[in-house]
């Protein structure tokens, strides 16, 4: 969660939200939330779990999101 917030603080292009899954069950279902933290980029589920900073950046800066 903190890495997402840090990237939002570092770039005006990035927005970062934490979403409490049990309170928004329909949305969590739509994003196939099973394990947490589940990372969703531009509305598309990506991966579960914490990753190192470099890996996090590699993933969010992937050409697929351009």
């Amino acid at each position: 969660m903190l890495l997402a917030y840090k990237t939002a603080l570092a770039s005006p292009r990035i927005r970062a939200s934490a979403i409490e899954s049990t309170e928004f069950p329909a949305l969590a279902d739509a994003m196939d939330v099973w394990a947490v933290p589940r990372i969703v980029v531009n509305g598309v589920p990506q991966w579960d779990g914490a990753v190192p900073e470099r890996v996090f950046l590699d993933r969010i800066l992937a050409p697929a999101f351009e």
Binding site: L2, R13, E20, F24, P25, M31, L57, I60
Partner: protein, 153 residues
């Protein structure tokens, strides 16, 4: 609306006696003021099994208690402000500026720690990332929306 557990909730402290000094210490380290905007929805819709917890009211109470621990943390409350997708929500605004940082839902349990650490990050003048990461993010030319689904336990 009167909540069945309202009286219990009102007297239940957010921070335990051993946690409060630690949270104060973390917030004392803020290099710039951080404003928390509590966004309420049009009406509260209790979830089945939520034992009538008013998530919006509890979210506001947590933010009030957090702001009470530091001069550098302030808060305001609005109903259905622009820039929110669901409610209740908290926007973390360093220097009162919207960097797109949101917490959707009631930050309880383990997630209260995430909110506090989010405030700590927002309070830094420079992002706590490696220089090469900051460089890569500065070169970003398209918008990204990152949602992190969490649970309180």
């Amino acid at each position: 609306m009167h909540l069945k557990n309202a009286d219990t909730l009102r007297f239940m402290p957010i921070f335990g006696a051993d946690e409060e000094p630690r949270v104060r210490e973390l917030l004392d380290g803020l290099e710039r003021p951080v404003e928390l905007l509590v966004a309420h929805g049009p009406e509260e819709t209790p979830l089945p099994g939520a034992r009538d917890v008013d998530f919006g009211a509890e979210t506001q109470r947590i933010v009030e208690e957090l702001a009470a621990l530091s001069d550098r943390v302030t808060f305001r409350v609005e109903t259905e402000p622009d820039g929110f997708e669901r409610y209740p929500a908290i926007a973390v605004l360093p220097d009162g500026i919207d960097f797109g940082i949101r917490y959707y839902g009631l930050p309880w349990g383990y997630e209260l720690g995430s909110l506090i650490l989010g405030v700590v990050e927002a309070g830094r003048r420079e992002p706590a990332l490696r220089p090469e990461s900051i460089e890569r993010l500065a070169a970003l030319e398209h918008d990204l929306s990152i949602d992190v689904f969490v649970t309180p336990t």
